[in-house]
């Protein structure tokens, strides 16, 4: 049962530079599971993504081992990865936000 308490994020593929949060994560929380060592930089809602590696501006966001878009600014480890710092490669989500 200890495992349930420990697992806060889900790594979907080893190539990924993000993980999916299974619970809401607060600023300053430390994630140490699955070989990760990151400190949460902003409040991240459940189901949203957290950077597990530093991602430079224009670098790809990798989820499921595939590129799902690119960073519009430098993203630090532990930072919330979403529409405020990511755009799709093919189709912009700007008009929706």
């Amino acid at each position: 049962m200890l495992r349930i308490l420990m697992r806060k994020v889900l790594i979907l593929n080893e190539k990924d530079n993000i993980a999916v949060c299974l619970v809401e994560l607060a600023i300053g929380e430390v994630i140490g599971q699955d070989g990760l060592n990151l400190t949460i930089q902003n409040l991240i809602p459940r189901g949203h993504k957290v950077a597990t590696a530093a991602i430079a501006k224009n670098e790809g966001i990798i989820k499921y081992g595939e590129r799902m878009g690119h960073a519009t600014t430098d993203i630090k480890v532990g930072e919330h990865v979403h529409t405020h710092n990511v755009l799709g490669d093919r189709l912009s989500t700007e008009q929706v936000v």
Binding site: R3, I4, M6, R7, L10, L12, V20, C21, L22, P45, R46, G47, H48, K49, I61, K63, Y64, G65, E66, R67, M68, G69, V81, H82, T83, V86, L87, G88, D89, R90, L91, T93, Q95, V96, V97
Partner: protein, 387 residues
């Protein structure tokens, strides 16, 4: 080491995972009679539909669907109820050509009354069921499995629990030599370039891209713009950032294997490997198209607990979340929500699903089969023209 696969070998070398006697009306007017025969028999199944012989833009698509469904290798025999028109008799011929070895015909033009059809049909069905019972499963190669992938009633967890768990099971099956088919063109829109990059040749990749582009042209023609609102505000609130991300979640059903080809709707799936089939997002139309393409087992991932099943193709329901799986246990075969609960890993659940597919292939009934969810629906592209 997993258990051995045991299946029904058909005379043309195809493999059935079930041994159904199917009652199939070739005109909508015989739907009630078909169902009556099945209900009164010792275990035959029936489907009903709304085609009444129209010869319009959808004629070829409908003929392909009905003949393919009749010839699915899960059918030991198919009893056709026909008005006797050349087009209907042509469907029976096509089914035979596709490999249906036992095709029985109840011709209204010859038998005269519906009472007579029901009476003779029942005798025929029970006699075929007796014959079917005498046939045993034999050891089968992995290529006997033709898996169809479906998702319906998706939610925020679909892309991280049930769909990738299916991907793990699909990858294992493909590696062993089975066929696995991703469908639902609507649901890969936005990620097709990423799937195309996984094609074994550039030509197949271009075909995947063109299949989606063709679909997009058709919806643009109808005046619908799907892209402006994708991902939706609700998706974004749930954590989905880009359209590619959303479609990748749906496409996760196909795992990480390479794509060996692209099928048109209801094309016959004959070779091993992972394929994409151009099917509609509508669950029942897609399940019917898979059945018509010779797919003999389906995994259906669901966030809301869609009950839809098929009369002849066992359909395994995988829940994306534990709340729904607990609420409707009579519809769900496996709960992948345990991944999000932190209780199990993707590989755990993917392995469980692989084992379950094998059990179901070997004869274990799915919840949809037990609940007699025998949906059937013809896919149409054009307005129906009565002639």
């Amino acid at each position: 080491m997993s258990k051995e696969l045991m299946a029904f070998e058909r005379s043309d070398g195809r493999w059935g995972l079930r041994n159904h006697v199917l009652i199939l009306p070739l005109h909508s007017a015989f739907s009630a009679t078909a169902r009556k025969i099945a209900d009164e028999s010792n275990g035959a199944v029936a489907v009903s539909h709304d085609w009444s012989g129209e010869i319009d833009g959808d004629f070829d698509r409908i003929v392909k669907t009905i003949s393919g469904f009749a010839a699915n290798p899960n059918n030991f025999a198919t009893i056709f109820i026909t008005i006797g028109t050349p087009n209907e008799l042509g469907i029976i011929e096509l089914a035979r050509k596709l490999g249906l070895s036992k095709a029985e015909v109840l011709n209204v033009a010859e038998l005269g009354s519906m009472g007579k059809i029901a009476e003779i049909g029942l005798q025929m069905a029970n006699s075929l069921l007796k014959e079917a019972k005498a046939v045993s499963r034999v050891s089968a190669p992995w290529s006997a499995i033709k898996l169809g992938q479906e998702c319906g009633g998706s939610d925020a967890l679909s892309g991280i629990t049930a769909n990738p768990a299916l991907g793990v099971a699909s990858d294992r099956l493909v590696e062993l030599g089975a066929s696995s088919v991703l469908g639902e063109t609507t649901e890969i829109l936005g990620a097709e370039h990423l799937l195309a990059a996984r094609a074994i040749t550039p030509e197949i990749g271009a075909q995947i891209v063109e299949t989606v582009a063709r679909y997009e042209r058709s919806i643009n023609y109808e005046g619908i713009d799907m892209r402006g609102a994708q991902p939706s505000r609700g998706n974004i609130e749930g954590g989905l950032t880009t359209l590619e991300e959303k479609s990748l979640g749906a496409a996760k059903k196909a795992g990480s294997a390479q794509f060996s080809g692209v099928f048109e709707f209801a094309d016959q799936v004959t070779k091993p490997g992972l394929y994409f089939m151009d099917t509609p997002g509508h669950d029942t139309e897609q399940l019917t198209g898979f059945g018509a393409g010779g797919i003999n087992v389906i995994v259906f991932t669901t966030g809301r607990g869609t009950p839809t099943g098929s009369a002849i193709v066992p359909t395994i329901k995988v829940a994306t979340n534990t709340t729904m799986a607990d609420a409707i246990p009579d519809l769900i075969d496996l709960n992948a929500g345990t991944i999000a609960d932190g209780l199990k890993t993707l590989n755990d659940v993917g392995g469980e699903l692989f084992d379950l597919i094998l059990e179901v292939a070997n004869g274990q009934l799915t919840k949809a089969e037990k609940g007699l969810h025998h949906e059937f629906s013809l896919s149409r592209m054009y307005n129906t023209v009565i002639r």
